[in-house]
Amino acid sequence: MRYALLVQGAPYSHQAAHSALRFASALIDRGHRLETVFFYHDGVYNAQRLAAPPQDEPHLIEAWQRLHHEQGTALLVCVAAALKRGVIDERESRRHGMQGHSLAASFELTGVGQLVEAAMTHDRLVTFSP
C-alpha cells in the first residue's frame, strides 16, 4: 500500500519524529511504499539544515534524508508553517531579502494543499503529533 505520514512534533522536543521514523522503517519492511512525509506545525523543525545533535543521539534529519534517497520518499514541509518559524529555502530567502537559508537538502517547501492531496491519493495517512 501507499503510505503518507504527517509529522507535527519538533525533533528532540517530543517523540513524534522518532515514532514516525520507526513506523516508516516497519512499513517498508512489510513491503509497503512510503511515498510522502508532510511536516506541519512544529514538525517543520525536522527540516532544519543546521541541526547538530550530539554523536550519541540519533540524527533525525539525516534519517529523513536517507528515506528520501533510498525510498524516494517526498519530504514536504508546509511553507506557511515553516517560514514564520525560520525554516526557509534559498528562493524564499531571496524573495524576503534575507541572507542564507535553513532548509536541509532533500526537503521541499510546499503548500498545505499537498497534505490534503496526500490524504486523498494515498491508501493510508498516519499522524505523529507532539
Partner: protein, 124 residues
C-alpha cells in the same frame, strides 16, 4: 446528523482553544485549503475547541491575530457544516447563544458516527 451521505467529506477536528497555541489556526488552515481544493469539508469542535466559537474574542495584546475573523470566512469557502460536541459545550458552561456562528449540536452518542462517516479525518 445532517451529513448521512458525507463519506467522501473531509473532517477537520478542532480540539484546541484560540490564542494559547497555534493548533486551532493551523487546523482551520487545513480546512480552508481543503475547501479551496474542492473538497467538501466538515468542522467538528470538540473539547477546548468549542472555545473557538465564543462571542467577543479579540486580537492578543501583542497584536497577534485571533482565529475569530477566520470563522466568519468559512461561509465564503462553502464550509457550512459546523458540528459542535454538546457535552464539551455544557462542560464549559456555554450554550448555543454564546457562539458567534450557527452550529449543529452533536450528542455524545452520535460522536462516533461523525468519525466513521468522514474521510479523511484531520485531528488538531
Amino acid at each position: 446528523m445532517n451529513n448521512a451521505d458525507s463519506s467522501t467529506a473531509m473532517l477537520v477536528v478542532l480540539r484546541h482553544a484560540p490564542h494559547g497555541s497555534s493548533w486551532l489556526r493551523e487546523g482551520l488552515d487545513v480546512a480552508l485549503v481543503g475547501a479551496a481544493f474542492g473538497q467538501s469539508v466538515s468542522l467538528l469542535f470538540l473539547g477546548d475547541g468549542v472555545q473557538a466559537l465564543i462571542k467577543g474574542q479579540q486580537k492578543g495584546a501583542l497584536g497577534q491575530k485571533g482565529t475569530h475573523p477566520t470563522l466568519d470566512m468559512l461561509a465564503m469557502y462553502d464550509i457550512d457544516t459546523l458540528l459542535v460536541d454538546a457535552d464539551s459545550l455544557a462542560q464549559r458552561g456555554l450554550a448555543e447563544d454564546d457562539l458567534q456562528l450557527p452550529v449543529t449540536l452533536i450528542a455524545s452518542s452520535q460522536l462516533l458516527r461523525v468519525f466513521s462517516r468522514h474521510a479523511p479525518v484531520f485531528n488538531f
